[in-house]
């Protein structure tokens, strides 16, 4: 594997991983933000 190709492969997986991690984190945080209020509503 040439060094240049290695950089492009790493960059592609890093971008994808960062974006997916961001979406997952945002989804979890949004739920955690309202979770207690929803549970209070159910109680």
């Amino acid at each position: 594997m040439t060094e240049t190709h290695f950089i492009y492969i790493c960059a592609a997986y890093a971008v994808a991983g960062t974006v997916l991690a961001g979406v997952i984190a945002q989804s979890i945080m949004a739920w955690r933000k309202i979770r207690k209020q929803v549970e209070k509503l159910d109680a």
């Binding site: 492969i9 994808a16 309202i34 209020q37």
Partner: protein
């Protein structure tokens, strides 16, 4: 008549947020575990057990993230447009909330597709970007996602925003066949379809396996995120109703 009544019964059953929340209780952990397993195996096979391409060399490994992201970008958009139609016609609460909840996920898949495609294009085509039919139509898809999210938040009345967004999603559906067949209709730099086509896949099985494993990972991640985000939207709507 009977079929219409039956479909109405199914619609009503799935319109019940309580039943959906009961489904989320087991579907969310299951899909999270399955996504982790498929991503772990998929990444291992993609990096260590699949051969380099005859022409592209090691760079072909970008395909294992680029192609599943592209498939998911299209799939999510089609499901959003169908949900928007269902919401408009049957006033289906979950369908309306689904499109709103999942739009950022679809936009993320489209962004991954565009960014990894650009990083793949640089060493292979010697350019980061080309205004050819496939690339441009996928960029339009990304703008449709962004436009939808901006539009639904542009109204003071949430329901009016959701309805306006539903029309945008349905009109934008015309872009989906353009993306799919752009490589057949126009002379593009992008390669023609190698897997989802009328004939047998042109991709070798040693490369098809990691591609399908990664696709399964993306699919289960999408199911987990749908459960998580839709549950949040239902919660938000309940809190809003309780406070008003």
């Amino acid at each position: 008549m009977n079929a219409i009544a039956k479909s109405g019964g199914v619609m009503t059953r799935f319109a019940n947020p309580g039943k959906f929340l009961a489904l989320v209780r087991w579907l969310l952990p299951l899909s999270t575990v399955l996504a982790s397993i498929f991503f772990a195996i998929g990444l291992y096979v993609a990096f260590f057990a699949s051969p380099p391409d005859r022409l592209q060399g090691e760079t072909v490994r970008i395909m294992y993230i680029h192609v599943p992201a592209a498939w998911m970008a299209l799939f999510v958009y089609v499901t959003m447009a169908l949900a928007a139609f269902t919401g408009l016609v049957w006033k289906h609460v979950l369908a309306e909330l689904y499109a709103k909840a999942i739009a950022p996920v679809g936009a993320a898949f489209t962004f991954i597709c565009l960014a990894t495609g650009s990083l793949w294009g640089r060493p292979i085509w010697n350019t980061w970007w080309e205004w050819d039919a496939r690339l441009t139509s996928v960029l339009v898809l990304f703008f449709l996602y962004i436009g939808y999210m901006a539009l639904i938040d542009a109204f003071d009345d949430e329901q009016r925003g959701i309805n306006a967004g539903a029309w945008l999603l349905m009109i934008g559906l015309v872009n989906v066949p353009i993306i799919k067949f752009s490589v057949d209709w126009w002379n593009t730099l992008h390669q023609p379809a190698g897997i989802i086509r009328l004939g047998a896949p042109t991709v070798d099985s040693s490369m098809l396996l990691p591609l399908l494993l990664m696709f399964a990972g993306f699919k289960f991640l999408y199911i987990a995120l749908t459960c998580l985000r839709l549950r949040t939207e239902i919660g938000r709507r309940r809190l809003k109703a309780a406070s008003s």
